[in-house]
């Protein structure tokens, strides 16, 4: 991925950002760049990042706390490899849910055990009637199907149709990456 932030030369981009985004300065950006591939596995990771950037470990930690408080950092965590950990059935479940109910039901479905991501997305009629997406992960398709049944029960009459789209091949997985340098153009 190449994302650039804090481009003061581009007024239109900056103006489109929310106050949260305008709160990121060049030091924050340097910390993002230094840690997006991973956090150092040493007793004092903040100090290790700081040494690379010419900042103190205390400042790195304080800035990362502030970014977490603003939701720029969702959390600092281990990202499991689904397949290696035995989760060989990964299903994107998609649901055609009444527009008047999808807001409330989306929240309820998202809280069901096993749902990792849950979003409302646009339909593309007539090809694609589904407006609610929930990712499920299981050690078998039977496990995913039983989770999907719990979602189906929760959605009830408001859901007209659904599908489970299993991933059958990873074609690319590089993840999100900020550009090393903001483009000048």
């Amino acid at each position: 991925m190449s994302v650039s932030i804090c481009r003061s030369s581009q007024g239109s981009v900056r103006d489109a950002l929310s106050p949260d985004e305008r709160g990121l300065d060049e030091r924050d950006r340097a910390i993002v760049l230094a840690t997006q591939a991973g956090l150092p596995l040493v007793p004092d990771p903040w100090g290790a990042v700081g040494r690379e950037l010419g900042l103190t470990g205390e400042e790195v930690l304080a800035r990362m706390r502030a970014m977490e408080a603003r939701g720029v950092i969702r959390r600092i965590a281990a990202v499991p490899n689904h397949y290696r950990l035995g989760y060989v059935a990964n299903g994107m479940t998609v649901w055609d849910v009444d527009d008047a109910e999808v807001e409330r039901l989306g929240r309820e479905v998202a809280a069901i055990e096993g749902v990792s991501h849950c979003y409302r997305r646009p339909r593309h009629l007539p090809h694609w009637p589904y407006n609610l997406f929930a990712m499920l992960h299981g050690r078998s398709r039977e496990e995913v199907e039983s989770q999907a049944e719990a979602l189906r029960a929760r959605l009830g009459e408001a859901c007209r149709d659904h599908r489970i789209l299993y991933s059958s091949r990873i074609l690319k997985k590089t993840g999100l990456r900020l550009a090393r340098r903001a483009p000048q153009a």
Partner: protein, 152 residues
């Protein structure tokens, strides 16, 4: 390293660190204490899990939109004989962060991550030109939940 080789400590470590590392001065020591192991043992195990690919990565999970970028999910209905050609054409775009084959008429699903929200439309038009196929753009309209947790 395989799933069968994970011992109880590895499993507790994987489960605990999917929830998150605390933002404190010695974060690994804090987690190690909670798990009843030494900081050195925890770091050794974590490195081994990462190196062996049991964990895809370990570190901060950044929120793309809050970093000022654009993000969307998009799909293509690729005719089977053209599949490999289209994989190559789509993956050649650096903005394609993930791409999965899925079992449906819409058989290719990819995430686009761009420098700016406005760039999403340009990349979609370029992918349509490169593949000759219409792209179904499905940006999130609302996020109800994002928290991957796979207990082992």
């Amino acid at each position: 390293m395989s799933l069968a080789e994970l011992d109880g400590v590895d499993r507790r470590l994987i489960n605990r660190l999917q929830e998150g590392l605390p933002l404190v001065a010695r974060p690994y020591a804090a987690v190690a204490e909670a798990l009843g192991v030494t900081e050195g043992d925890l770091l050794y195990r974590l490195e081994r899990l990462r190196e062996s690919g049991m964990l895809s990565r370990f570190g901060p999970m950044y929120h793309a939109e809050r970093l000022g970028g654009g993000l969307t999910l998009a799909a293509l209905a690729v005719p089977e004989p053209d599949f490999e050609r289209v994989v190559e054409a789509v993956n050649a775009f650096p903005e394609v962060a993930h791409n999965y084959r899925r079992e449906h008429a819409l058989n290719m699903w990819f995430v686009l991550a761009t420098e700016t929200p406005a760039r999403i439309g340009e990349v979609i038009a370029a992918i349509e030109a490169a593949t000759g196929l219409p792209v179904f753009n499905m940006p999130k309209e609302e996020e109800f939940h994002v928290r991957l947790h796979l207990p082992v």
